[in-house]
Symmetry: C2
Subunit: 231 residues, 2 copies
Amino acid sequence: MHLLKILALVAMACSACACSGRAAAAGAEAPEKQLALPSSGIMKVAFVVSDRATLIDIAGPMQVFDQVQSPGTTGFQTYTVSETRQPIKAGTLTIVPDYTFADAPDPDIVVVGAQTGRSEPYLNFIRGMTARGKLMLSVCTGAAKFADAGILDGLPATSHHDYIDGFAKTYPKIGWLRDRSYVHSAPMIYTAGGETSGIELALHITELYFDHDIAVKTARYMEYRGPAWQK
Amino acid sequence: MHLLKILALVAMACSACACSGRAAAAGAEAPEKQLALPSSGIMKVAFVVSDRATLIDIAGPMQVFDQVQSPGTTGFQTYTVSETRQPIKAGTLTIVPDYTFADAPDPDIVVVGAQTGRSEPYLNFIRGMTARGKLMLSVCTGAAKFADAGILDGLPATSHHDYIDGFAKTYPKIGWLRDRSYVHSAPMIYTAGGETSGIELALHITELYFDHDIAVKTARYMEYRGPAWQK
């Protein structure tokens, strides 16, 4: 076989498994397992919000969690957390954060979407929650907040497709993966792709806390037709 | 052919076209045409919000309109309108409305999602905007607001799948259609199904103001994989 053809086939195979040299260097995705419900049966979900947030990064997963079709009194309890309670803009919506980093209820899950905010209190919140074993979810360029906090070094991750190339240069220790709705970056860290990929990740998290049928029922209730999380 | 078999085939045909006796009585869907851009090239979109709003009904279409991949300076300008500027709850988010019905910029498009609110000023806003030929879009049970305002009588419409049966009893003059992402109820009225069906409708409206390629680019930018609007 001609050498160029062999090289082309190798390149195709690499593209097909959506891996890259960097990703391989950063390690494979963490093996998945069911997530355990807390004794209350309610997972508290803190959505970190700061100015110029991308609305759907918050609203997509929040809608999934708020309407999970789970049995009895089990489910998710969502709220917003920010550095202050000053109103912030999410798209054109003006949102008043529910809590500050200082007074927010202790969450089980932390969600960070695309937004401004890179202060030490902001990054320390992410670092602290990660260190305490909370389930950390980024959506879209929220992955850059995780990267800035240093919690993705040596791990595979994804983000909005338009930002992967830039992030590969800015954060070379992270194995950026393309064309993925979400990546299981570490046992308790998931990074989602852009915008509505956050819906995909939230449905997948629903599946891990409950089961596939409950995730399907939740997607159907929302009339959500996206198939990627049902891989 | 046996009479029962003929009847079964007729029933199947009726089911296949997703029509009902009521729908037929209420008239067929309005023929579609491209929508004309205003001279500014910017369509102003007023999202009516009131307490206990379903978040994704607002956030889904707003994200589509805010990020439309349209040429030059053309696009949509979104804002929220309510009876007062008092904060309202959309899911667990606390939102401060941008304008009141009295002082809002004159919109080209009005979007109404699931929410409380049935006051005379509220319904009069819907009636007035319809009478002035604005493009009226309902999402989810926002269709009940249109019904309460009397703008759907004698027309086909859709809503969230869990509410269609109840609405058929409450609003018998409307031809409720099932299993639809959206219905073209009248030349300037569209009704969407539940929740993320609003994303489908907004992408379709994008297609009508611009073209299919721009709607596809917008969906891709959002990493939205739902196929229904691409029928």
